[in-house]
């Protein structure tokens, strides 16, 4: 477990040192959400109705930007082949890197979400629910995303390919994330059911993501 912790710490340190990934994701999120009212016009009611969906989609796309870097530098520099020479299963090595991605990318995005909600006239009652759904749902972004990152490791310009592979997997997270917010903003609807389903998707992804990503990495290590 010491190896697991050390790897998470190193990836977080790298995220701080290299900075680019988190900064790009935050900047992208900010720009996309800022463009929305400009493109859709100043209809406050329309904006506040679509705000949860727009924020969730923006967040998914922003988090996707930095996924490609989860393994590729480590692979190019020959770090990955040394990483596997420990008793830690490859699945947990992947989980450590996905956890670091969640902390370094999804958490800052989650913190930015309520601020961007102001730009879209998000209803007051929706703020706590939206942040809660983002926090509960976003680990799925990192853990399912690790599968895409692992599969496209050897392909040049794999960024677009990751989006094609991974975005369909995010659909359940998106649906239950938004339905939880809608339950509060436009009743009827069950907040509790949506949050529970969202947690179920996240928990399933915590298991499935690392197993699938480790299988993909094994095939590519040779």
């Amino acid at each position: 477990m010491k190896s697991f912790r050390t790897l998470v710490q190193r990836d977080l340190l790298l995220a701080v040192r290299e900075g680019g990934a988190t900064g790009t994701a935050l900047g992208f999120y900010l720009v996309v959400i800022t463009l929305m009212p400009l493109g859709l016009g100043p209809d406050l009611q329309l904006l506040s109705r679509i705000a949860p969906g727009v924020l969730w989609i923006g967040l998914l796309l922003a988090a996707l930007l930095s996924l490609g870097r989860m393994f590729d530098v480590d692979q190019e520099e020959g770090v990955l082949e040394v990483l596997v020479t420990v008793p830690l299963p490859l699945e947990l090595i992947v989980a450590a890197k996905a956890l670091a991605h969640w902390i370094s990318t999804c958490l800052p995005l989650a913190i930015l979400t309520p601020i961007l909600g102001l730009l879209l006239n998000l209803e007051l009652a929706a703020y706590p629910v939206l942040v809660a759904t983002v926090l509960v749902g976003s680990p799925a972004i990192s853990f399912l995303g690790s599968v895409g990152a692992a599969l496209t490791l050897r392909s040049r310009r794999g960024g677009l390919l990751i989006a094609l592979l991974v975005l369909p997997l995010y659909i359940p997270t998106l649906i239950f994330g938004i339905s939880a917010v809608s339950a509060v903003v436009t009743p009827p609807g069950s907040l509790e059911a949506s949050l529970l389903l969202l947690s179920a998707v996240t928990i399933a992804s915590l298991v499935i993501g690392p197993i699938a990503a480790a299988a993909a990495l094994r095939a590519q290590l040779g």
Binding site: K2, S3, T6, L7, R10, L13, L14, R17, E18, V73, D74, E76, E77, G78, V79, E81, V82, L83, V84, T85, V86, P87, L221, G222
Partner: protein, 215 residues
């Protein structure tokens, strides 16, 4: 001081490394076929052969990164040996934005070592004065030394070195030879693919690929 006493089967040397009828395929081509050899504890094996003769393939297969088409690799009777090797390949395994010391400290903790060996390893490979510099600024030879410093952090019985002396100057090559010699005399095994003579005392040679060239 207990080190000398604990070397032996308890530390995982046992019967050494045994490779039997190993065949490996890469991209549909058979790179190694029917290779058999054994390396006893306290021995260094220098793998030689022309480019493309399968030196790297052999090392990566022993490390467990590649699975053989047929044959067995056993170390002290066991087939699972990824956790008992130090692998230094063509790539150095260094992250450019971490400092020299951070890189090494990470490997030390990650591989299960203790922090107090880090400074000693840096010192031995002549990197002590560069400890706080981001590794991206090092020269090729200095990066190689940093990669080799990993060998000294944690005890692993089997060292797999792929062209370890690439870009090293004469002094650093001597340090490397000294480290290999020390490892071997304490009962470890070193398998190195290299064109250079590393000047290791107890070593044997394995020649690869000469027959394949004639065919």
């Amino acid at each position: 001081m207990a080190d000398e006493n604990t070397i032996g089967p308890e530390r995982g040397f046992g019967a050494g490394l045994e490779v039997t009828n190993l065949s490996v395929e890469r991209g549909g081509r058979r790179v190694l076929s029917d290779l058999s050899f054994a390396v006893a504890p306290g021995e260094a094996l220098l793998v030689r052969g022309p480019n493309g003769s399968g030196k790297t393939t052999l090392l990566r297969t022993i490390a467990g990164f590649l699975s053989p088409a047929s044959g067995h690799i056993r170390f002290a009777g066991e087939e699972e040996l990824t956790e008992r090797v130090h692998y230094v390949g063509h790539l150095n395994g260094i992250r450019a934005s971490l400092t020299v010391e951070e890189n090494l400290r990470f490997w030390s903790r990650y591989l299960g070592g203790s922090d107090d060996r880090v400074l000693g390893a840096l010192d031995r490979l002549g990197l002590a004065s560069l400890a706080s510099i981001p590794a991206g600024y090092l020269s090729a030879g200095q990066k190689r030394r940093l990669a080799l410093a990993r060998l000294l952090l944690v005890f692993r019985p089997l060292w797999l070195l792929d062209e370890p002396s690439t870009s090293l100057d004469a002094r650093s090559t001597a340090v490397l030879a000294g480290a290999i010699d020390e490892h071997v005399s304490s009962g470890g095994i070193v398998i190195a693919a290299t064109h250079l003579d590393l000047g290791v005392a107890r070593s044997r040679e394995l020649r690869l690929g000469f027959a394949a060239d004639e065919a």
